[in-house]
Amino acid sequence: MSEETETKPFKFVTAGFDARFPNQNQTKHCWQNYVDYHKCVNAKGEDFAPCKQFYRAYRSLCPNAWVERWDTQVEKGTFPHKLD
């Protein structure tokens, strides 16, 4: 075992505690972060770093199937919430 592997320090990150959603039901937590991310991107642009916070939160909470469905709705303009 002469092979030396370099381990970089890292941190596990996931959506943290949100005082708006203290309950077992996290459906709205996922939804709210998805909406907030798109509102943030529409207001500040794709490269605005703080928007990533919402992105990471909804990526770790929402099922991929939901996100895909919402993405197509956003593209078509049929997403049932204002995003601007």
Binding site: P22, Q24, Q26, C30, R59, L61, P63, N64
Partner: protein, 174 residues
């Protein structure tokens, strides 16, 4: 005072007095329990989230895999019938993990008695439970809801490993 002295041999007076006294004590000790009950639901500062559902699709960002029961004919010697799965859910020990539980078709339930968790999985709803495993080991469970013909008793296998092994497993999955 005259009135109170007259009440001394009135049984209704004592009955009402005792009932109110007991009621006040019960109300007072209820509130700390409410606080504990609500705190139990909160998941504070988890390190990772595991989304458990029966959705199927591919994505590069998250690690995603199916975990199916191993059929009776494919069982190796010593493994458990109706409990063993092809891909175990691997999580690191001593790490605060949040499970987000949902379903795509009918009501299921994510349960592992030895971890002390049981949570229903509803289509269109995300339920969370938190887990902190103190040791390495394999924890079995089954879907605890009569979820339908030919898919009752869906097995759940959670394997807790050391952080190094977990990172190696992560690298393997990508």
């Amino acid at each position: 005072m005259e009135g109170l002295v007259e009440l001394h041999d009135n049984i209704m007076f004592y009955l009402v007095l005792i009932l109110f006294g007991v009621a006040i004590i019960l109300i007072l000790i209820a509130f700390p329990s409410f606080k504990l009950l609500y705190l139990m639901d909160e998941v504070n500062d988890p390190a990772m989230s595991v989304l458990y559902s029966d959705f199927l699709n591919d994505d590069n960002e998250n690690i995603e895999f199916d975990s199916y029961m191993i059929g009776e004919d494919d069982l190796e010697e010593g493994s458990l019938r109706m409990l063993e799965v092809d891909n175990r859910l691997v999580i690191p020990e001593l790490t605060h993990v949040r499970f987000v539980i949902t379903s795509a078709d009918v009501i299921h339930a994510f349960a592992s008695p030895s971890l002390g968790i049981k949570c229903d999985a509803y289509p269109g709803r995300l339920n969370q439970v938190s887990v902190l495993i103190n040791r390495e080991g394999v924890f079995y469970g089954q879907c605890s809801e009569i979820c339908g013909i030919l898919h009752s008793s869906m097995p759940i296998v959670i394997q807790s490993v050391s952080l190094e092994k977990f990172i190696a497993w992560l690298a393997e999955q990508q």
